[in-house]
């Protein structure tokens, strides 16, 4: 295991810069998720750590070793690809043992290591099968097994669950997290799914346009997003954002609705953020008109209009509402997020 240090790393394709001087320090044994929309540079950054992309500027260190010019095979890393990248003509055991074979390890040593990894991932019954004889989840496990047998210093995952169906994704998410807890290997995990990022990571790096928007623990990002992008990207349903300005002892929306503010609120806010679960039904709250009701059993999502602005409330209780009803919504004052003209948190 080793730490990973990314120091002012940049990437150019010709004159086009896709990564703009990124600094991230990943501690030994930490599980860090790179998350962001398509084209934000998260996979490029991961591939630079793997050595599959050249670094245009800056330094990457694995442990104490500068690896900028070190080829992938000498970085002591293992990577799990989105489409598994299993060798189709090799059995599961051969796929998992290929790297060890290349290292010149003995057949018995390879066999022992493969069986050990297969036991961890419940792959023992499939060792003699070809990848085409496995289900998507099993193939993904083989890809992880191929990484495990090498006992690398760092695991790199490039959107490994994107090709799986929703149910299997939840199951594999738990398996990867469990694996990390058991092995304790430093892990860098790329995903565009913020739920994956939130549930698995020790720390999340939110990226946009080749720039790091915020780094922090999942709940830190959720509770105190640095800017509007992080506020909307983290959390599902997304945070409600209402345009307006502070005044009259509260926040006046563009439609004239007055929203309450805590006494400590700073002046100058133009965006009022409140997460859906921090809105409560209360007749003393601001008025809104119900548009859609979505009961899920455990909770009820209410899509409502406040003037021209739409917002979502997630209510823990079951409510007897129908579209067109006028309701009062009261925000939890302790959970309000205010953003200034530049989109940054106040």
């Amino acid at each position: 295991m080793a730490s990973v240090s990314i120091d002012n790393v940049a990437k150019f394709y010709g004159n086009h810069q896709v990564i703009h001087g990124i600094d991230i320090d990943i501690a030994d044994g930490e599980f860090v998720t790179l998350v962001g929309p398509s084209g934000c540079g998260k996979s490029t950054l991961l591939r630079m750590i793997a050595g599959l992309e050249e670094i245009s500027d800056g330094d990457i260190r694995i442990g104490d070793r500068l690896v900028n010019d070190v080829p992938p095979k000498e970085r002591d890393i293992a990577m799990v690809f989105q489409n598994y990248a299993l060798y189709p003509h090799m059995t599961v055991a051969q796929n998992m043992g290929f790297a060890l074979k290349l290292k010149g390890e003995s057949r018995s040593a390879i066999d022992a290591r493969v069986r050990e990894a297969a036991a961890i991932l419940a792959l023992e019954p499939y060792l003699d099968r070809l990848p085409k004889q496995l289900s998507g989840g099993q193939r993904q496990r083989v890809a992880m097994g191929r990484a495990i047998v090498r006992s690398p210093q760092v695991f790199l995952f490039d959107e490994p669950l994107s090709n799986l169906d929703a149910k299997l994704r939840v199951q594999m998410r738990a398996e990867i997290k469990d694996l990390h807890q058991r092995l304790g290997t430093t892990t860098v995990y790329v995903t565009h799914d913020q739920i994956e990022a939130m549930t698995m990571a020790d720390r999340i790096v939110v990226m946009k346009g080749g720039v790091v928007e915020q780094v922090g623990r999942p709940l830190e990002l959720y509770d105190r997003p640095n800017n509007l992008f992080v506020a909307t990207f983290i959390g599902s349903p997304a945070m409600n954002l209402l345009k307006g300005k502070t005044g009259n002892g509260g926040f006046v929306t563009e439609d004239g609705a007055l929203l309450p503010l805590p006494a400590t609120a700073k002046a100058g806010a133009v965006t009022y953020g409140i997460r859906p679960e921090h809105l409560m039904l209360d007749e003393t709250g601001f008025r809104a008109e119900v548009v859609v009701i979505e009961p899920t059993g455990a909770e009820t999502q209410v899509l409502a209009k406040c003037g021209r602005q739409t917002l979502v409330a997630v209510l823990r209780e079951r409510v007897d509402l129908k579209p067109g009803d006028r309701i009062g919504l009261k925000p939890d004052l302790a959970a309000i997020h205010l953003f200034g003209e530049d989109g940054r948190r106040l």
Partner: protein, 292 residues
Amino acid sequence: MSDLALSSRKPAASLNGYRIVQSISVFVIALVVISPLFMLFIASLKDDRFQILADMGSFRAFWVDNPTFNNFREVGNFAGELAFGRYLGNSLFILGSTVSLGLVINSMAGFILAWGSLPGRALILSVIIALYVIPQESIIMPLLIIVSRAGLSDTFTAQILPFVASPLYTFLFYQFFAQLPKELYEAASIDGASIFRTWWSIFMPLSLPALATVSILMGIETWNQYLWPILITQTDYARPISVAIATFFGQDSIYWDRAMAASVMMMIPILVFYLAFQRWFISSFVGSAVKG
């Protein structure tokens, strides 16, 4: 309901019509392709070379009253410079060597063009495509001079070496390799495989369709070589069967019966070669490498 039934029958009827036209077309094309081969086989079973000539141009060309294998026996006992079997052996040796070396060289070149970090790769590819359109006959005289000056006249090497590297087969391999998922190459490089090992252990086993295609095309091309062996061989030592058959076409008379039998015998190895490789033409299990 009846309208619905009627409208649903209409496309089925036109589909049947389409299938009939399709079947007839396939039958006619097959007939055109197979009939000369069938005629050749029938003629090889006729004992009288003048009868063969007389039958040509009529349906008699496709019928034999008293089939005999005499012609094959006579070809087997061929009393030329060397035994007929030796020419067959020469051809098989040239075929085997050219195809096996050709598979290695062209696939290596195609692999590097597809995945290697080669400076000027686009330019090299353009040159390779440009070279493909140059007919072999147009460079045969300069090639003859080069091979002669290299002291390779009248050797097997002269019939193998010039045809091992081919722009067409390099390009075929390049196209095949370039279609394989990039992640396979990257996974191999992370696993610690050298570029040679990646080519040999990962990409070559996945390339059976390309290997079969190139083997068949290259094999047929090599087997049917005639002009080059005539030019480069002065003695019978390294001559292939295609040149030996020409012996039956003498200055004074043509031994159609033996020529037909020899042609059938010449066809058999390449037919076996084709049948051995053709099943990989369409089969590929690359699909299981990646999902989606």
